[in-house]
Subunit: 363 residues, 2 copies
């Protein structure tokens, strides 16, 4: 019997709230070109980047309302490559769905689960790390996560504390995971950095589908069972209706919280590659090439006596005069003018617009 | 013989470049509501403010291309109240035109010449000053100017040095003018302020038309003669054509430079009223009422964690996040984001857009 192949699953959910006004309900983060000077939307770049890792098409788990946009963005993928989520239910349901699909489609080979919205470099080292994770997952009844060596006391990322060293690969050492740490305070992040032994949680996992689904059964049965029942009809008529019924009942919970933090056999592959989850306009600014004044300008912009600004303009013109350290984004009917470093607060701004009934600015 | 009446002339030329993108060729400064919380365009407010000073309609000297906009803005004025300039020729030609019109229309009573774009307060003291200027001009073969007591070492205004005291009125003392000082450096402005005896030049004059026209003959004959010839046809068919011919030959020069600085008999009435020539967005910000965060917001604006900003929005929405000390103006297809205090530089920005052929942003 042939060895079951390695498969890739890409989590292409998310709302893009923090990238408003470029990110909107109809155009979430994964559809935006936010990775450095790359003009490709994040999901397009993610699919391209992972292609060498599997001969099979990736499994793309995405919101149903993006069907049209994603078929257009990824025309080479067969319809069966997509798993359309009836509604947003955080990452645990999406990963479970991908695990069921991989198992049904190509057996119990390792599944690498990757978010659609990351910056990684260099590509070669990144792919080597994922391959090493898959190799380990093939021979281990547990979950392997990707751990990134922290370069600064980031407060926007989750962390992993690593324990005993288990093995080594060319891509990096593999340790047991002692503990998951949610986004820390600045002080705690500083302590973790100076103490060592902590890694950024890259939100990237490798496991055999049966291993993940067993852990899910054990730790989050209210999600595992309804989805397992619906997935029995995968590939058949009525699957979408069954899935919609299941999704309407399952909890909205992250895979970290539901499974990773509770599962006993979790390991981490440590790597030193450059990594960023592109969580806000501030992160986007870091990866775009600056001109001689420190500005990153895209679109129809006139800048005079301007320094260290990120400007991203569609649908009109923006003129800047004598300003510095701003993020200016123009889309549709609106313009955001924010101080750099306030990227995380865009979320609250959008919440406020929602409360004020400004659907005209959010669609 | 009845005494010749006092007349008012309002200079309603100017391009509004420094108020881009609200100010454009089709909507210069005098058509914009820039005076504090007053929602009236500056010219409308100026006409209203001066009404009590003369039973005659004011003479409005304005660019021909604004004919439609001004007839709509000032529907109560008869067509004869307007003098349409065929092209922009600075203030000297405009004042000469007004002097000819006043003389032809109602004789040689005092003419008060006022710019269309000022902030003054309180109104009662302002009107008293203009009345006192007219009274003096009636009995004096010279020109009376308005001098404002400086409150700070402004570099954006011209100054007058006053000499011997000649008389007094309830509205303030009248002195001989020793010298006109063009917009000074910060250091020179400081010295003038501390030495005393200097006033801001309010750009407001009173004279009998014959007195001004004589001085013009003497000091700027290349402007005086062509205009005098054209104005002989005032009120007749063919006047506009004659005027266009005259305007095509006369120099573009300010009345200060051509006449005031050279005329021998120039006096100044000193007053302490609040005065501002509203020369830039920074000046506009000073007169609008701020909210509890120091912001002046007009139009569809969402501001979160924002301080000391002037925001003026038409044609869309603007969201501000975590910024301070900005001027943000949205009009038509563009948005200006400038640091407060950089208002004077808007002019250079507009020059650059012109050079780049961006007529789409300037019309």
């Amino acid at each position: 019997m042939a060895r079951a192949p390695t498969r890739i699953a890409i989590l292409a959910g998310g709302s893009g709230t923090r990238f408003w006004p470029a990110g909107r309900a109809s155009k979430p983060k994964q559809l935006l070109p936010l990775d450095g000077d790359d003009q490709r939307p994040l999901l397009r770049a993610t699919v391209d980047r992972l292609k060498p890792l599997s001969k099979y098409p990736p499994i793309v788990v995405a919101p149903k309302n993006l069907k049209r946009a994603l078929r257009k963005l990824l025309p080479e993928l067969p319809e069966e490559a997509f798993l359309w989520e009836p509604e947003a239910r955080n990452t645990c349901a999406a990963v479970a769905l991908a695990a069921h699909a991989a198992k049904a489609d190509s057996g119990n080979g390792p599944l690498i689960v990757v978010p659609a919205d990351q910056h990684v470099a260099p590509l070669k080292a990144y792919r080597a790390a994922l391959r090493a994770m898959a190799d380990r997952a093939r021979n281990f009844s547990g979950i392997v996560t990707l751990g990134l060596k922290p370069t600064h006391p980031a407060t926007g990322y989750g962390y992993l504390e690593r324990g005993v060293r288990l093995s080594s690969s060319k891509a990096g050492p593999i340790h047991r995971v002692v503990r998951f740490v949610e986004k820390p305070s600045r002080a705690r992040a500083g302590r973790m950095l100076s103490r060592g032994g902590y890694l950024w949680n890259g939100g990237t996992f490798a496991f055999r589908p049966s291993v993940f689904l067993d852990a899910l059964d054990q730790h989050q049965s209210d999600l595992a069972w309804p989805l397992a029942r619906a997935c029995r009809r995968m590939g058949q008529r009525g699957f979408q209706q069954s899935l919609a019924r299941a999704y309407s009942t399952v909890p909205s919970i992250s895979v970290d919280y539901a499974v990773m933090e509770k599962a006993r056999a979790v390991e981490v592959l440590s790597t030193k590659i450059e990594w960023d989850d592109l969580g806000s306009w501030d992160a986007v600014a870091r990866h775009r090439t600056a001109d001689e004044n420190g500005n990153r300008l895209r679109g129809d912009v006139t800048a005079q006596d301007v320094r260290d600004c990120l400007v991203d303009v569609e649908d009109g013109h923006v003129a800047l005069l004598g300003v510095k350290n701003l993020v200016v984004v123009r889309r549709g009917n609106t313009v955001l003018v924010a101080k750099r470093g306030k990227g995380e607060s865009v979320r609250q701004l959008v919440e406020r617009l929602k409360e004020e009934g400004r659907e005209d600015l959010l669609r």
